[in-house]
Amino acid sequence: MLSRTAENLFWMARYIERAESTARLITMGQRMAVLPASGYRDEWRSVLRVTDSESRVGPGPITEEDIARVLLLDPDNPASIQTCLVRARGNGKSVRTKLTQEMWEALNLSWRRFEGLRPAEARNDLPAHIDWVKTRASVFRGAAETGMLRHAGHDFMRIGGAIERAQMTLRLLEVKYYVLLPETDVVGGGRDHYQWTSVLHALSGSRAYHHVYGGVYTPARIADFLMVNRTFPRSVAYCVDQARTHLAHLARAHGGPTRCHRTAFEIYRLLKEGGDGALFDRGLHETVQQCISLINRLASELAEAYHF
């Protein structure tokens, strides 16, 4: 397979994931913005921080219109949904022959939905736009799941998706880790409760959390759930497992493992040793940052190993 093809498939999957992640974050922001507790404006700020977009707004209060402008429409913001959709389609277009017709149609359909839309208009329909983005991402993944040949291209796509998903969870934890600091083991005031449930909600994990841990929220369990749980598809450990499965396919097809395989193993081991509260002993923030830098390294080693 052409290296450029691999690169485009990898990034196409990342941008689709990123569009969905941004959509989920906007939903989380909206939930928190309606909380009665004070300081909700900071919640939008933390959403912007997670997506590296804070510099795109002024120091004053952040409105939903700002969010629509920066995270939905801004063509220059690499995290905005519009940018992600356009880039995913651009990546897909340059490797069209490697996509199935259904995958291409999923990318090509209404990729211009947000073009020319003004932030004030977009703001009014924000929930509908967000749902639409999530649906598009699902349709695309479904088309790939049921129709795409399981060649190396599929592996590169899945690795891209897994890396992006892991990054999203990690960045959310990086920005929100302070609410998980174990000052008290029992959930205190209402606001903390909402903070935590919102984080879980953003990752589609609030129901899943209850299935795994029962009804009680504790910082250790939430951190455990998002970082080291091996059944929750948005946990870092699960994403890394998935990436490793596909990295193993690549190793088989390309004559053996490379540096990126070793890095993936390193992340796996780090998380494996972090169960049962060990994350907090080691320092949640440090572990999160370590994972972020290891995953970045993994992505660049992958590009190097397969000649992107």
Partner: protein, 469 residues
């Protein structure tokens, strides 16, 4: 009187259009209109688009598709085929001659300066024998019809003629939507074109190739106006679609960068201009291109299709001499005539052209795609004057032809079947032998009375049938 291809002299439906007529009558105009919208939706969804250079607006707009097929009888096609093959052969013979002894210039049949002073002439190609002595592997010949028996060649395309994907897709859509039209086997299929193209490309593998040749299609990238066609053809041939960044030259061979390391490439079907092939030889400022590619080509490490320098054969200034080429190289009379052409570089012709510009079609010698041309009878006096000034400033850069009474073909209008002018581009494949699928691309001017069929100027396309009997 304009020849309407659906009717004979007394207004009765011509035999070859009997099936189309039956279909129109049976479906009715509103029914056809509805199906047309369906067809457009399919095209849009698949993403068959055509970007237009130099015009604002939608960079990926659809090329309009007309539902009513254009039909050639078997006899008409036999004659066309003979003429097309003859022309493709003569053009390749001319290219070989240009880059070798130049016999036709020595014989005084074509002025030397027109060839050796031409921008499309590539001195780098002198003395080189491309595999099979083929330069132009896909020859697209634009043909117009002015009377039932009169087919004339408007221009030749020896570099990288585009549009064949429309020929294939138009037929595909028609068969998918109206299978009943094809069930009786009246229409000759064209869907083996990609297989024939691949066969042609493999036949001209370079001396360095051992085993089954690795063929790739080289595209400038996804922003190119014909990118859809590039990916479509690569897909149907099952070959890699590469961009210049995917290739590099090492040890006299061309390699593509794959996830498993470098893979040798034998034949490159390039859809990229000469200028951008190799910055070491052609344009040093080019950021496209593969450094060293041309050297690998000349030393037999890879084959480029078409050969660099093939453009000299389809230059509008050279066009005038194609009938001479056919006589000179093949010893035959041309089956398809040229259109009478005034070369503004000649004093007498220039005087005539300037005097009659309002009646003529004038074209830039190096222009293509319907840009840089004037259709005198349809232009304002100001436009004619402005064009005259351009010709006076650089006479050698222009030719002029009479305004032809192009035939019209049935086209679906809002309330009835209307008559619109059309031309025809078949694609002749030249490898160790020649191949031609029975069909081609019919382009139609969708505006009433318009003679410009280029898709960049609002033209549309339709399916073209060659009947079996």
């Amino acid at each position: 009187m304009t020849f309407y291809e659906m009717h004979d002299a007394v207004g009765a439906t011509r035999d070859c259009y009997a099936e189309v007529q039956r279909w129109i009558d049976a479906t009715g105009i509103p029914g056809l209109q509805r199906r047309m919208e369906e067809a457009e939706a399919i095209f849009r969804r698949i993403g068959i688009t055509f970007a237009v250079y130099g015009e604002g607006g939608d960079p990926e707009r659809l090329i309009p598709f007309d539902l009513l097929p254009r039909v050639f009888s078997r006899l008409e096609w036999q004659r066309l085929e003979q003429g097309i093959r003859q022309r493709a052969q003569a053009l390749n013979a001319f290219l070989y001659d240009v880059y070798h002894r130049g016999e036709i210039m020595r014989a005084g049949l074509i002025p030397q300066e027109l060839v050796y002073g031409n921008a499309a002439y590539r001195p780098e190609m002198i003395g080189f024998d491309p595999p099979g002595r083929v330069y132009s592997h896909i020859v697209g010949i634009d043909i117009v019809r002015t009377a039932p028996e009169t087919f004339e060649v408007l221009e030749d395309n020896c570099r990288t003629p585009s549009g064949v994907s429309y020929m294939l897709e138009n037929r595909e859509i028609m068969t998918r939507m109206f299978p009943e039209l094809f069930q009786r086997g009246l229409v000759t299929p064209v869907d083996n074109y990609p297989a024939l193209l691949l066969q042609t490309l493999k036949e001209v593998a370079p001396p360095a190739c051992k085993g089954d040749p690795v063929v790739v299609l080289l595209t400038p990238g996804s922003l190119n106006s014909a990118y859809y066609e590039h990916s479509f053809l690569a897909d149907l041939m099952g070959i890699e679609l590469v961009e210049p960044v995917d290739l590099f030259v090492d040890a006299g061979r061309v390699w593509m960068k794959t996830t498993a390391g470098p893979t040798a490439v034998d034949v490159i079907y390039r859809r990229i201009d000469d200028d951008y092939l190799d910055p070491l030889v052609f344009r040093p400022d080019s950021t496209l291109g593969v450094p060293g590619l041309f050297h690998a080509y000349r030393s037999g490490g890879v084959t480029l299709c078409s050969a660099p320098g093939s453009g000299i054969a389809d230059d509008k200034a050279i066009y005038v001499y194609v009938p001479e080429m056919i006589r000179f190289y093949l010893g035959e009379e041309p089956v398809l005539a040229n259109i009478p052409t005034w070369q503004c570089g000649k004093a007498d012709d220039l005087a005539y052209v300037l005097e009659h510009l309002g009646e003529l079609v004038a074209k830039e010698v190096h222009g293509s795609g319907g840009y840089g041309m004037l259709v005198g009878p349809h232009a304002t006096p100001q436009a004619v004057d402005a064009f005259a000034a351009r010709i006076r400033a650089n006479p050698g850069g222009y030719i002029a032809q009479p305004t032809l009474d192009l035939s019209t073909v049935p086209t679906l209008g809002p309330a009835e079947v209307v008559r619109r002018h059309a031309d025809f581009r078949p694609y002749c494949l030249v490898g160790r032998r020649m191949r031609l699928v029975p069909g081609g691309l019919t382009r139609v001017a969708l505006t009433e009375g318009s003679l410009v069929v280029n898709s960049s100027q609002g033209g549309g396309v339709k399916d073209t049938w060659v009947l079996r009997t």
